[in-house]
């Protein structure tokens, strides 16, 4: 065996020669400290001892140990959605760090999940990762970056020059094609350990599976020609299944929900419809009419309509959220003088609306219960207004948003856990937070993106929640929110059914739901709106079904649940 000696011995020997002796107590301390620093053994997960607040489910612990002991840190974590692939990967990372088997870790995730991963790794797993947003050197030891960002020059060459101990890639089905930049980039990274996370390692073609496995362990499935000859009957039908399974099980871990016997508590949803006051209703309708006019003009001219969509969502949330945007938009050069004038007037009108139907109903609702409640809103202005109103009414509430530092976020969550009954949260910044100690949430406004709905509910409806989760949706009568609710609840049943990683499902189907909802709500009216929403809902449901079939196929391929 290669034995490596170090020059640092000279320091100790010199001290001995120079009789720089320490006390016996210090010498004993040195011995014990050195002994303690060598405590290891993969039979016990040090990460779990270091993180007492984290409890792994048996399937998660099994996965972690298998990856560490049998797969030597190169594995595809292919658990079914919602079974905790992120926490498994996090514990593996922590374990490698604690054992000094890894020092430099690169986590590559889709841009939309960067914050979520950061929260999870930073807050729950206590690992000081940095988000690569351009301000961080690639030489840092622990980095989370979006794959798209890292693979582009000038970052690409900088990343490829680094040597990583561990690389983690989330949503690894994006590496299914070996001719893409994604695949080539990850393949070129210098890495000792590699974790690929995906619930759908194969989507349309067994070649995708081949490409992912080859990225992980070249040669595991031989060359593609050999793989095809031996294991592929047609694109979606494998042959020599037992042999293929055996090879896949050497590098891939998958658990499905049935196997784990895990059951989440039920979700129940209640819609609270509120009436608008006269002034509020006038402001709402006038603003929406104005926005529709501008939207149709801009859309037909191929101009950017995203600010209009945002404004429409703000109007649905609260006049306070809309006023600032109205004023800002009134200065926009792409608008006609008439449009600018109208927007200015609307901003003035919005300033006069101090009380809304939603606020009145919210105060009644809060008065009727003493249990903890999370109020979700998409907009910071609405959040500020709600906090002010609740405080004025004598209720204690804390606000959680993306602008807080990590320490502030921790404090807010701790206060909510201990004493404060109400948490007002915006979407941003809290994706990885566990709020299972609360089981009631109120959607003050509705996101137009199904992914956001699942994220909100997912904060409380997750492993560890012991009570049934109660969801309240606050909807203004006669507003476009009724359409949004129709789509999300009536058609997609998102509030009551556990769909899982909605974003993964929808994005893999290539549907841009938020944009389509905006098109429908701002571009159509009446029956047409309903018809278009139904069509969109069908598309989304189809994607859910396809995803479900994919899961079954992956299970079959890996022999999961077949025993």
């Amino acid at each position: 065996m290669q034995t490596i000696f170090s020059s640092s011995d000279a320091g100790v020997l010199a001290s001995l020669v120079w009789e720089e002796f320490s006390s016996p107590a210090a010498f004993r301390l040195n011995q014990k400290a050195n002994h303690l620093s060598t405590q290891a053994g993969f039979d016990r997960l040090l990460a779990l001892e270091a993180l007492p607040e984290i409890t792994l489910y048996p399937h998660q612990q099994e996965t972690v140990l298998k990856v560490l002991k049998e797969m030597c840190g190169r594995a595809v974590l292919a658990d079914e959605v919602g079974l905790g692939k992120t926490i498994e990967a996090g514990v593996i990372m922590k374990e490698y760090l604690l054992r000094s088997l890894a020092k430099r870790i690169l986590v590559l995730v889709p841009a939309s999940l960067v914050t979520q991963w950061y929260e999870e790794l930073h807050t729950n797993l206590k690992m000081p990762f940095l988000i690569q947003d351009g301000s961080v050197s690639w030489k840092e030891d622990l980095i989370i970056s979006s794959l798209d960002y890292a693979k582009r020059e000038p970052h690409r060459s900088r990343v490829l020059a680094q040597k990583y101990d561990l690389v983690v890639v989330d949503e690894a089905h994006k590496l299914k094609n070996n001719t893409t930049q994604n695949w080539k980039f990850v393949n070129s990274l210098q890495k000792k350990f590699l974790l690929l996370l995906t619930a759908t390692p194969v989507q349309n073609d067994l070649k995708e599976l081949y490409n992912i496995i080859t990225l992980l362990k070249p040669g595991q499935l031989k060359t593609y020609r050999e793989f095809k000859r031996e294991f592929v009957q047609d694109k979606r039908t494998p042959r020599n299944l037992d042999k293929l399974r055996a090879l896949l099980q050497e590098v891939m871990v998958r658990t499905n929900r049935k196997e784990t016997m895990l059951k989440l508590p039920k979700r129940s949803v209640e819609t609270i419809v509120v009436d608008q006051g006269d002034l509020e209703a006038r402001f709402y309708r006038s603003t929406l009419d104005c926005l529709r006019r501008i939207y149709r003009r801009k859309d037909s001219q191929g101009e950017n309509v995203l600010p209009l969509v945002l404004l429409a969502r703000e109007v649905c949330s609260s006049p306070q959220a809309a006023v600032a945007s109205l004023e800002k938009m009134a200065r926009n050069k792409s608008l006609t003088p008439e449009e600018k004038g109208a927007l200015k007037q609307l901003a003035q009108l919005g300033r006069k609306v101090h009380e809304t139907g939603k606020i009145r109903r919210l105060l009644q609702f809060v008065a009727s219960t003493e249990e903890k409640l999370i109020i979700f809103t998409e907009f910071r202005q609405t959040q500020i207004h709600l906090a002010k109103v609740l405080k004025a009414a004598g209720y204690q509430a804390v606000a959680f948003h993306g602008g807080l530092t990590l320490a502030q976020k921790d404090r807010v969550i701790a206060e909510f856990f201990r004493e404060v009954p109400i948490l007002i949260s915006t979407e941003s910044g809290g994706e990885g937070r566990n709020l299972q100690f609360c089981h009631r949430l109120l959607n003050y406004d509705l996101p137009w993106n199904p992914m956001r709905v699942e994220q909100r509910i997912g904060r409380v409806h997750r492993l560890g929640q012991r009570q049934n989760v109660q969801i309240y949706n606050l909807i203004t009568k006669g507003s476009i929110e009724e359409y949004v609710l129709y789509l999300l609840q009536e058609k997609l049943r998102l509030f009551t059914d556990v769909v899982g990683e909605v974003e993964t499902i929808i994005s893999s189907a290539g549907i841009s739901v938020e944009k389509q909802v905006a098109d429908i709500l701002l571009g159509t009216s009446g029956e047409k709106t309903l018809g278009a929403l139904n069509k969109l809902a069908n598309e989304v449901r189809e994607s859910f079904c396809t995803y479900s079939r994919l899961q079954e196929f992956t299970d079959e391929l890996l022999g999961v649940g077949s025993l």
Partner: protein, 463 residues
């Protein structure tokens, strides 16, 4: 010791060495205070998190910090192991069981001596896809150079310093001389300063390193074999994969070469000039294609080779085990021992010898047999006063004394085992003993019978 107990024990040492205080705050909660640090901790995860109470376990930043601080302390020491009452009582008992077999032995004088040892604590990190670490403590005997695995007892106390009478020729190692090396000779070569300063320590350190290297090879031989096997398997998979890829890439070239060969034959066999020209043109075109294809294959091959080399390097980094050794602390240690002068009485003579008792091991130190060199827990005294083990000593059946066996040490008349002192001459009386016991010596042995022409003793070897 459980993990919690290990941490608790460490914290006790930490507070002792660094003047920190640990006090219980309430059931299961403690506070550690040093001059610049305060930590409220518990070993019970159910209490942790409340009122700033931290769950202290492996991986906790505060514990990591304390471990790092502990490792920076006390790298060298000058220690001796004191005697306590219990050890003295044990020693008195041991005096009744001096490890001398068969003969009565009486201790006549006791002298307390301190046996010097140099203790080296090496941190050993075994690096492969898994990491194993341990601290290996070695004790090297300066007198014999013998190295053994040894744990320093917990009750060592500080020895007064500065008693060395050696001239001060101490040298410092050169500070810029930083390296890591896998060659022990090279490593030792760099300790010239130590060799010139304190040769004895240099010699002992070298012996320690040598011992450790061999010990690692013995202890982790199976692990290394397993790792190498895994590496070979992974390499074989990679070889097959890249060879397959290359073959697939080369397939078109092979086809072209085959086509060219066929065309060459056709050109050679063509009966008509026109046909030959046509085939020749086709051949030229194919050769151009071959040339381009060769270049492409060359590029692909180089690319694949580079990629394979990268993967192989990754595999080697991951699987090939390496043992990284670092000296983390060292000490001069003096062990108390009693040298007991003992008088013994054999049937033939009275003698004395010195036995050494180790207080800390509560046992007599093994003595070496003067014949075979083996260390044994108990000895017998030979007829010349030599120390013998029971394997090398034979008991004389005449005088019951012990002796070292020799082919001639048997009575040639009656066949009884015989020590040299009991061997006698026959009545003819050669100057050298005839190999007879005293009882048989009244006869004439076979060797002497020829000289006298008389009748020999009617024994086995007598006339």
């Amino acid at each position: 010791m459980s993990f919690k107990e290990t941490i608790r024990d460490f914290l006790a040492s930490y507070s002792e060495a660094l003047d920190a205080t640990i006090e219980p705050i309430k059931e299961g909660v403690f506070r550690l205070e040093t001059g610049d640090e305060s930590l409220t901790y518990t070993f019970d995860p159910t209490i942790a998190g409340l009122e700033g109470v931290e769950y202290l376990t492996f991986g906790h930043p505060a514990l990591d910090r304390m471990i790092a601080r502990g490792r920076a302390q006390g790298q060298t020491a000058h220690l001796f192991l004191p005697l306590n009452n219990e050890q003295m009582v044990q020693f008195k008992d041991a005096l009744n069981s001096i490890p001398l077999l068969r003969y009565p032995a009486l201790p006549t004088a006791v002298r307390l001596v301190y046996q010097p040892l140099v203790v080296f604590n090496f941190h050993l990190a075994l690096l492969a896809d898994l990491r194993r670490e341990e601290v290996v403590a070695l004790a090297v005997d300066p007198e014999t150079g013998q190295v053994r695995l040894w744990q320093l007892p917990a009750d060592a106390v500080s020895f007064s310093r500065g008693f060395s009478l050696q001239p001060d020729r101490r040298k410092r190692p050169r500070s810029k001389d930083e390296y890591i090396t896998s060659d022990l000779a090279d490593h030792i070569q760099r300790f010239q300063w130590l060799k010139e300063t304190k040769y004895s320590l240099y010699r002992l350190y070298k012996a320690g390193c040598q011992f450790l290297k061999e010990w690692i090879n013995r202890r982790y031989a199976t692990f290394e074999t397993e790792q190498v096997k895994r590496l070979e398997e992974e390499k074989a998979t990679l070889d097959h994969y890249y060879q397959g890829l290359l073959d697939e890439e080369m397939a078109s070239l092979y086809q072209l070469l085959h086509k060219a060969a066929v065309l060459e034959v056709r050109v050679a066999l063509a009966k008509r000039e026109e046909t030959r020209r046509q085939f020749s043109q086709e051949l030229e075109a194919v050769e151009r294609e071959i040339s381009a294809e060769k270049k492409r294959c060359q590029r692909v091959s180089e690319k694949l080779a580079a990629e394979k080399s990268k993967r192989l390097h990754e595999l080697a980094t991951k699987y090939l085990p390496k043992a990284r050794i670092r000296l983390v602390s060292a000490a001069y240690v003096y062990l108390p021992r009693a040298q007991v002068n003992t008088v013994y009485y054999t049937p033939n003579f009275q003698g004395s010898t010195v036995f050494t008792y180790d207080f800390h091991q509560d046992r007599w130190l093994p003595l070496a047999c003067e014949v075979c060199g083996e260390e044994v827990p108990a000895l017998v005294i030979g007829h010349k006063g030599e120390h013998l083990c029971l394997r090398c000593a034979l008991c004389c059946e005449v005088c019951r004394g012990f002796f070292t066996p020799h082919p001639a040490d048997e009575c040639s008349a009656c066949g009884r085992r015989l020590c040299p002192q009991c061997a006698a001459s026959c009545r003819v009386g050669n100057p050298a003993p005839c190999g007879l016991c005293l009882e048989c010596a009244s006869q004439i042995c076979s060797d002497c019978s020829g000289l006298t022409g008389g009748s020999a003793f009617p024994g086995r070897n007598l006339y």
